[in-house]
């Protein structure tokens, strides 16, 4: 008889050694969630950096007119002075109309005309070599303008801090999800091994080492997790692509700009899921085998 391939070297571990479709579903969902949190973190980080960059490239100067000088005159003088400073691209005195337009959403039309408004100069700084607030203050002082320079650093720090916080939270969510996936695999390994007690003993009596037996479960759950991870990542990619497609370059909202490349960073998900499953299955299997004495 010619050795056909039928029935030769079938997997030693039987199919469905214990609730595998359910495990696959759980891992797929966990991977989907982990991927979404990763994309969300990326988008939030990108948005925060965008804002921070914008804030860094701007400064606002509040001018106090001298005696015998109108606010508008003082502001114009300050703008002229500031425009001459190295690292300043443009300095513009904000006229009352612009200032009112900025305030209208906050305080409404009724009191606006009577409100004393500060005299402001908005300064656009060179993005690559921005003038420092100190050099701006110094220039104003030597021109005899009484003014305060706000380089938005307070705001910027706030934005950067929230971006950092979001990154940390996303990383924590990611780690927790990985931990949950690992725990699910460990649990399934234990259940699978409990269901396959007779098989394990037979393998052991036929000379299989604990490592070899653990390897069977490792392989099984590693492959399963890789498949489930791919499914979860694919679903997350589709959602990301959909969001990008709907929202264009800005994403759905400028607060969460999604790019096409975000879909790509999800590609290691199956590998990560498989690694977590491999490690979890190995430890669970070896611990259980050790327990058999």
């Amino acid at each position: 008889m010619i050795p056909g391939l039928t029935g030769r070297r079938a997997p030693i571990l039987p199919r469905d050694a214990g609730g595998e479709p359910w495990l696959a579903a759980v891992i797929a969902v966990l991977c989907f969630l982990a991927c979404l949190s990763a994309v969300g973190a990326l988008a939030a980080d990108r948005a925060a950096h965008g804002w921070a960059r914008q804030l860094r490239a701007e400064a606002t100067v509040q001018v106090r007119p001298r005696v015998g000088e109108t606010g508008a005159e003082a502001a114009a003088r300050a703008a002229e002075t500031l425009a001459g400073v190295d690292g300043v691209e443009e300095a513009q005195a904000m006229d009352r109309k612009t200032a009112e337009a900025l305030l209208r959403p906050w305080i409404g039309d009724a009191v606006l005309p009577d409100l004393p408004l500060p005299f402001l100069v908005t300064v656009r700084l060179d993005r690559d070599a921005p003038a420092s607030p100190v050099s701006l203050s110094r220039a104003l002082a030597s021109a005899g303008v009484d003014a305060t320079v706000d380089d938005h650093s307070l705001w910027r720090r706030e934005v950067e801090r929230s971006a950092g916080l979001i990154t940390v939270l996303a990383a924590a969510a990611f780690l927790l999800t990985a931990g949950a996936a690992g725990a699910a695999v460990a649990y399934a390994t234990r259940a699978g091994m409990a269901a396959q007690g007779a098989l394990i003993e037979t393998l052991s009596l036929n000379g299989a080492s604990d490592g070899r037996i653990a390897g069977l479960f490792q392989m099984r759950y590693g492959l399963l997790a890789a498949g489930a991870g791919a499914a979860g990542a694919l679903a997350a990619m589709l959602v990301t692509a959909f969001v990008r497609f709907l929202g264009g370059a800005e994403g759905v909202t400028p607060a969460l700009p999604v790019t096409w490349s975000d879909a790509l960073i999800l590609s290691p998900c199956p590998l990560l899921a498989a690694t977590v499953a491999l490690v979890a299955a190995r430890f669970a299997a070896l611990a259980r085998l050790k327990g058999r004495g």
């Binding site: 008889m1 050795p3 056909g4 039928t6 029935g7 030769r8 070297r9 079938a10 030693i12 039987p14 199919r15 007779a198 098989l199 003993e201 037979t202 393998l203 052991s204 009596l205 036929n206 000379g207 299989a208 080492s209 604990d210 070899r212 050790k290 004495g293």
Partner: protein, 236 residues
């Protein structure tokens, strides 16, 4: 037959394959199944272990296969301490022996071929390297036409023969068989006895536990008797 037992170097006298000294063992529900078992199976010897049902023959075999460990006394296999060897050392002992279990312990989801090939596969051998040996072995026990059958589709006698094929296919130094002819007819029983005798002539140490005293007498093997937790007859 192409199945060859590994043989120790001809010059140095081979250590006794099995040495039990004052071995005691029992279960929680059935303490003192074995009380003071002293037993030596020299390399290349052929023994039959008889005794009434429930005497502890299968239990003694479980100690030899290291499925259980003695609670008292010493157990040496191939000249090495096996009674207190760490768990990690067990596979090495087990790969040097072939075991026929009373309840066969075949894997129902694997074909007859894969079942017989299991110990070879577990030792890391490639399919190409053992395919012919496994087929020859299965042919020899009369399962040449059932290579792709799974155990649930085999008769009791066929399962028994498959279990024997799996035990001997690696060419082990020691074969331990628990009632290996319990489920086959007289003709097949003789044929299987012949197989064990052939393997023994090639140098394999053999221990068969069996009720069948007439088969034991016809085998020409040394008779051992297990009763009241002790083994009588034989070298120790």
């Amino acid at each position: 037959m192409s199945v060859q037992p590994r043989r120790a170097a001809e010059t140095a006298p081979a250590p006794d394959t099995v040495r039990l000294g004052g071995v005691g063992f029992g279960y929680a529900e059935t303490p003192d199944v074995l009380r003071d078992v002293n037993l030596i199976l020299p390399a290349g010897s052929f023994h039959f272990l008889t005794g009434p049902s429930g005497a502890g023959k299968s239990t003694l075999l479980k100690l030899l296969t290291l499925a259980e460990r003695p609670v008292a006394g010493s157990l040496e296999l191939f000249g090495e301490d096996a009674g207190s060897a760490p768990r990690s050392a067990l596979p090495a002992f087990r790969r040097r022996m072939g075991v026929v279990f009373q309840d066969f312990r075949l894997l129902d989801h694997l074909t007859a071929f894969d079942n017989a090939a299991l110990p070879l596969r577990l030792s890391g051998a490639k399919l190409d390297s053992y395919s012919a040996d496994v087929e020859e072995m299965l042919d020899w026990v009369g399962l040449g036409s059932k290579l792709d059958a799974r155990p649930p589709a085999l008769s009791g006698g066929e399962k028994q023969r498959l279990a024997i094929a799996r035990a001997v296919v690696t060419g082990p130094e020691l074969i331990v068989a628990d009632e290996p002819t319990g489920s086959v007819d007289a003709v097949m029983g003789e044929r299987l006895l012949k197989l064990f005798q052939t393997l023994n002539k090639l140098g394999t140490t053999i221990l068969i536990a069996s009720h069948d005293e007439s088969l034991a007498e016809r085998s020409g093997a040394t008779l051992l008797r297990l009763e009241n937790g002790r083994v009588t007859g034989g070298a120790a």
